[in-house]
Amino acid sequence: MKLREVFLTSAFKENSIWRQILGICSALAVTNLMLNSLIMGLGVIFTLALSCFTISLIRNHTPRSVRMMVQTLIIAAYVIIVDIFLKANLPQISKQLGPYVGLIITNCILMGRAEAFASKNPPLTAMIDGIGAGVGYTLVLLCIAFIRELFGFGSLFGFELGFLKPWWTNWSIMVMAPSAFFLLALFIWIINKKYYKVG
C-alpha cells in the first residue's frame, strides 16, 4: 500500500470517529472551544505518530502475551513527555489545557491504531497511519467545536465576532456536555448516510 493511500484511508475512509466510533470520550469533552480542540488534536497527532512508530519498530521482538502492556507503556511515556514539555516550556498553554493532555493516554484511537495497524506494519507506514488517524480525529473535533463555540460563546478561536455581539444570545446548552452528544450523533449519522452504505 502506498503511503498516500495509507494516510487517506486512516484519515477519511476509515476515520476513527465517524467510521470506528473511537476516541468519542475526548471528542465530547474538549470540543467546547476550538483552541482546546486544536491543541488536543496536535497532542494526539504527535503521540500517535511516535507511539505507532515505536510500537512498529519493536513489533517483531514483542511477545504476544505482553503486547498490550508494552503498547500502553509506550503511549503513556510519550503522553507524559508532551505534558512535561508543555509544562516546562509553554506553561501558558499547558495551564489552559489543564488535565486534557494527560487524558490522551486513555484515548481509544491510540490503542486502536497500535493494535490494528502498528503491530503488523513497518515503522514508516505505521507512523503515516498514526498521523492520518490523528488528522482525521482533529478535523472532526474542529467541526464540532466550530458549532459549539459559535453558538455557545459567539466567538471562534477565542475571538469575539463583532457582528454577532449586539443581538446574539449565547446558548448555554452548547457549552455543556449534552450538546456534544447531539452534535456528534448528528455528525456521524449524516456522514454515514451520505458516504457509506449503512445496513
Partner: protein, 222 residues
C-alpha cells in the same frame, strides 16, 4: 542456550517487559529531572506575582509608585513588601504585606470545596482580617465555560473591599442573578448556570476568613 529457544521460554516476556519499562521510565525520569526546576520556578513566580497583584492597589496608595510599576518591578517589589509568615503561625499559610514596618494587608492561602474538586485561592485582607481587599483563584476544577468563570475578573472583582466580618460575626452573602445590579453591600452577582460553584466560593470565604479572624483576635488578646 540459543536465542530462538530463549524467545520461546516463559521468561522472555517478563524480561522483555522489564527492559522496555526500565528504558522508558529512565527516559521519563531524566526528562523530568531536567524540567523539574523550571516547572517549580514558574509555579512559584506565578504564585508570588498573584500575591503582589492582590495588594498592589494598597501598596500604590502609600508607596508613591503606580500599580504597574509595582507589578513590573517583580521580584524586587515582592521581596521588599511581602514577608511570608512562619509555617504554623497562622491557621492558613499567610503573607504579611508591609510598607516601612507598617502592616498594610494580609494575604492568606485559603481553600474550599467546589462542585468537582477543591478550589484554592489567595485572599488579601485588611490587617484586622475583617474586610477583603482582593481575591484571586489559583486552582479549581469547575466546568469550563460555567463554573470555571468564577476565575474571571468580573466575578472576583465584586469582592473588592467587601466586609466579611461585621461585629464579630460573618456577613451573610446573598447571590443575585448575573444581570441584576446589587442593592445591598452583601449581594453578589452569581455566575449563571453555576449556582453551586458560586455558593462554594462564598462559603469558602466565610469559613476561612472567620477562622483566620478569630485566630488573629485571640493572638491580640494574649
Amino acid at each position: 542456550m540459543s536465542s530462538t529457544s530463549f524467545r520461546d521460554s516463559a521468561l522472555y516476556p517478563v524480561v522483555f517487559m522489564l527492559v522496555v519499562s526500565v528504558a522508558f521510565v529512565g527516559v521519563l525520569a531524566a526528562m523530568f529531572r531536567f524540567s523539574e526546576q523550571k516547572i517549580e520556578a514558574y509555579k512559584r513566580e506565578q504564585y508570588e506575582r498573584m500575591i503582589l497583584a492582590l495588594c498592589a492597589d494598597s501598596l500604590a496608595a502609600v508607596s508613591g509608585q503606580s500599580v504597574d510599576e509595582i507589578i513590573a518591578s517583580y521580584p524586587d517589589s515582592y521581596n521588599n513588601f511581602v514577608k511570608p509568615m512562619d509555617e504554623g503561625s497562622q491557621p492558613r499559610r499567610a503573607y504579611a504585606v508591609n510598607h516601612q514596618e507598617r502592616l498594610l494587608a494580609w494575604v492568606f492561602d485559603i481553600g474550599g470545596k467546589g462542585l468537582w474538586g477543591s478550589i484554592r485561592a489567595l485572599v488579601a485582607t485588611t490587617p484586622e482580617a475583617d474586610r477583603i481587599i482582593a481575591l484571586a483563584i489559583y486552582e479549581q476544577m469547575e466546568t469550563p465555560g460555567l463554573g470555571a468563570r468564577i476565575g474571571e475578573p468580573k466575578f472576583l472583582g465584586q469582592f473588592r473591599r467587601k466586609l466579611v466580618i461585621q461585629e464579630g460575626k460573618a456577613v451573610d452573602f446573598e447571590l443575585i442573578p448575573e444581570d441584576q445590579s446589587p442593592t445591598a453591600d452583601n449581594q453578589v452577582n452569581q455566575v449563571t448556570g453555576a449556582t453551586i460553584t458560586s455558593n462554594s466560593v462564598l462559603k469558602m470565604l466565610r469559613e476561612e476568613i472567620s477562622l483566620i479572624h478569630a485566630s488573629l483576635k485571640q493572638e491580640e488578646e494574649r
